[in-house]
Symmetry: C2
């Protein structure tokens, strides 16, 4: 058996190396690669992706895993959990015909290119045939991977184990019932602060120094995490010692980068604090997308939009941008960071209206997969839901149905994780606050005890425990969406004196 463990670990190592390479190629494509390098890069990545598939699904691995599973009592806990997850993954993948797997890969790589072009020209017709194929292929994949499950539940599960329509229906119903009235009240109260001065140009060089300020505040070691610049920020971790956080600098929107670094910094803290004993193991990453997102939302919204953090930030901004900050008070900076206002673009949405952006996508995805909405009618459905939920008129598909890259990337079922993550973060904050005085901690200039609390209950385990165990651990029990709706209602009622 020891021999099998050794052989298994060797295979895993080879696969990890290839996965690492794919990660770097993908990061490089987004951050460094010259434009003309794209086609060749896509070809190399497709070739390596096939290779990676062969390393994930093959007879040798299946035999090894079955042997290890049969002797699981003798395995150390890390290997035992690896084997459990590997077998689950293998069984899931081997039900997908290999040609369809590759075809899906090719489809989304082509679709992503076409989507970019379609978005640029606000031309949904161009993207439509790809969207049609992606919906069909996603349904098919869902059927192969999770037979017996409703297709959309399968897609939700793929990104965040435990998410399902049964869970999301009441959640979104609650969100809609409780938050829509708050949004209406905010819109009607006439108490928006005039933060137009914050759109003066803030030179990028100074904004880079603000990024460092946020990173320092979060206690992120820049020897393990670097900042790259991209169109749409994301975080990718090759391992806990090499994390790539990305941001986008807008001269005329200094808060955008700041809060983006805070958000990605939350993802980063999760990966940075995974236990050392998991290094090199496939268990060494965040457990689900929803749990990951709970961390980015926690640090972005609940820590870095807090009055205590703004009080730290304000003098630093005055120092770096004396001219631009001349007429801006600390109060105004705080109000600007917490401004709520229905808008068109999800990635620019505030904390209060954000869940409604997700709700639109959830409704649409659910219906597309169920077949009750056709790809043909998608833009119309989108526009009418934006009008209904957010009260905004969508001027074109660029600012509407084409705004996100997810569908083109084959990620139907991903969006709800964002919103559930936000909801988790409210419950988690509540739990931490029972043990730690969060505002006082932030006011002292850091988040160390908060990160320690989270490390203890969540981060260090990676995927060693199940998503269910980890959620319970960090939520201190069942998920209760009331924490989220209560938090948002209270916060914005106070802010806007509703």
């Amino acid at each position: 058996m020891q021999d099998t463990v050794k052989k298994y670990k060797q295979l895993i190592k080879k696969r990890a190396a290839l996965g690492h390479a794919m990660g770097v190629l993908s990061y490089d494509s987004e951050t460094v690669m010259p434009k003309n390098g794209a086609p060749h890069m896509a070809e190399s990545m497709a070739t390596l992706s096939e290779e990676l598939y062969r390393l994930r699904v093959n007879d040798e691995l299946r035999d090894m895993l079955n042997e290890l599973e049969a002797n699981k009592a003798e395995l150390d806990p890390v290997t035992r959990r690896e084997v459990e997850l590997e077998l689950k993954e293998l069984k899931k993948l081997e039900r997908v015909p290999v040609e369809e797997y590759s075809a899906f890969d090719r489809l989304i790589s082509e679709a992503s290119i076409v989507w970019r072009e379609a978005k640029r020209n606000s031309d949904y017709q161009l993207f439509k045939p790809y969207m049609k194929r992606i919906v069909a292929a996603s349904k098919a994949m869902a059927g192969y991977m999770y037979p017996g499950k409703p297709a959309y539940d399968a897609l939700l599960e793929e990104f965040s184990e435990g998410l399902s329509m049964d869970m999301l229906e009441p959640f979104f119903k609650d969100v809609k019932a409780k938050l829509v009235p708050v949004i209406h009240a905010v819109c009607e109260c006439g108490r928006q602060a005039d933060d137009s001065k914050l759109t003066l140009p803030f030179p990028i060089e100074g904004q880079r120094r603000l990024s460092s300020f946020v990173m320092d505040f979060l206690g992120i070691d820049t020897n393990s995490c670097v900042i790259g610049e991209v169109e749409h920020p994301f975080t990718t971790a090759f391992n806990k010692h090499d994390i790539r956080l990305t941001t986008h600098y807008h001269e005329e929107d200094v808060l955008s980068n700041l809060l983006s670094v805070a958000h990605e910094g939350g993802h980063c803290l999760y990966e940075l604090n995974i236990g050392d004993e998991l290094i090199g193991s496939p268990l060494a990453s965040g457990a689900t997308m929803a749990l990951h997102e709970s961390q980015s939302r926690l640090f972005e919204n609940m820590i870095c939009r807090s009055p205590e953090f703004i009080a730290l930030l304000y003098p630093r901004m005055k120092e770096i941008f004396p001219l631009q900050m001349q007429d801006i008070s600390e109060e105004l900076l705080f109000r600007a960071a917490n401004r709520a206002e229905p808008s068109l673009i999800r990635t620019e949405a505030d904390e209060l209206t954000y869940p409604l952006h997700i709700m639109v996508r959830y409704e649409i995805e659910k219906q597309l997969i169920a077949g009750t909405l056709s790809v043909e009618d998608l833009p119309e459905a989108w526009n009418s839901m934006y009008k209904e939920y957010l009260g905004v008129d969508v001027p074109d598909d660029k600012a509407g149905v084409l705004q996100d890259s997810h569908w083109a990337g084959g990620m139907i079922g991903y969006f709800p994780s964002y919103c559930v993550g936000s909801a988790y973060s409210a419950q988690i904050y509540h739990n931490i606050a029972k043990e730690i005085d969060i505002p006082a901690t932030v006011a002292q200039g850091g988040v160390k005890p908060i990160v320690e609390w989270l490390t203890d209950r969540l981060y260090r385990f990676g995927k060693l425990k199940t998503p269910e165990e980890l959620s319970r651990s960090v939520l201190c029990g069942e998920f209760d969406p009331d924490y989220y709706t209560d938090y948002l209602t209270k916060k914005f009622t106070e802010l806007y004196k509703l």
Copy 2:
């Protein structure tokens, strides 16, 4: 047979994808990766490197190549040349015991880390045991790969086919006899220009704009070539549409980056202009290191240090750096770009003294491999040769024997390619000048006809023709080092009115 061609091309494609990934990983390590990512990156690269070796040396490939070789009359010219080179490479590699191949890989990856540390502390003793192992392993590898050849000839051949001690002995003798007196005369003439004002701080942001100016002048499409920032500049091409040029900005030395971009730009032009019909083929890269270096030297020294280029550069520098350039005349800028002065560091050496830096390394490598110099006595030999050839006292090993990364990287035998490349460039310039008025072309603001001449005779072929054919094509006959020594003698005699 068509089936074999197809299978062979598939294998090549997989290998190319893996090679592409390794290239990106290596580039990422140098330019982006956070420090703590190094150990894991090294592990992934070692794993992939073993995989790459298996794709280069295996029975299936050998059988395919033998079959294709036996039917070579039926192959298209690209595939025919590929098969020829692949077979040669395969035969060479399969003579190396696989454990020794891997051990060498591991050795140089460890050695490079130790060398960095040793250089930082100027501590040759720390590096010495690795140097000892590298010399022994290089000799062993040379014996396996090129049986019957003197070991140092084998190492020279490995980087530039056609280079040998028989060729280099008279070359360096000539260089020494003709150039050492010129260097002495320069030192004694007392006509160094006072270019101390060029060491004022030139902000990096402005220097970046100068890099763009040089790129534009060379006609390099930034959609295919991006600039990265590193400690020691290099160029790496993943394919002709994705080239990574690197540079280093020194605030107090504005010419350093400028000329570095010109140098790397020469490498870039070679790769950019490889024929489209070679895309995806292993033939799609420069033919030898010496030929590659001939291009970087040509564009750095003979084009971008020319009075015509300086005349274009001067007003641009005045525009970007009005304060710093206040008291600097065009004449002074030209003199500074062409200053000759014996110094300690090869990478900072001027055109005239550069070959002597290489000569030191050539002598030492030759003797180390022959066993007539011990690793123990290396720093002493280095220091005494620097005194003898360049008249400088080496203060410590950091500025001496530890200055270059090559030996730690297992690249014994590489240095002479630099110098032969420089010598080629003089002969190539002479040949181009017979057909094109180079100074007038440069004065008009570009190098297009020059690049076309070089593309026609050299670039487009990649490795399709032999290095011998390509050298003859671009040198217009036999290599004649007199062009080089005559060029340097004439240039510096005039400059310094000797």
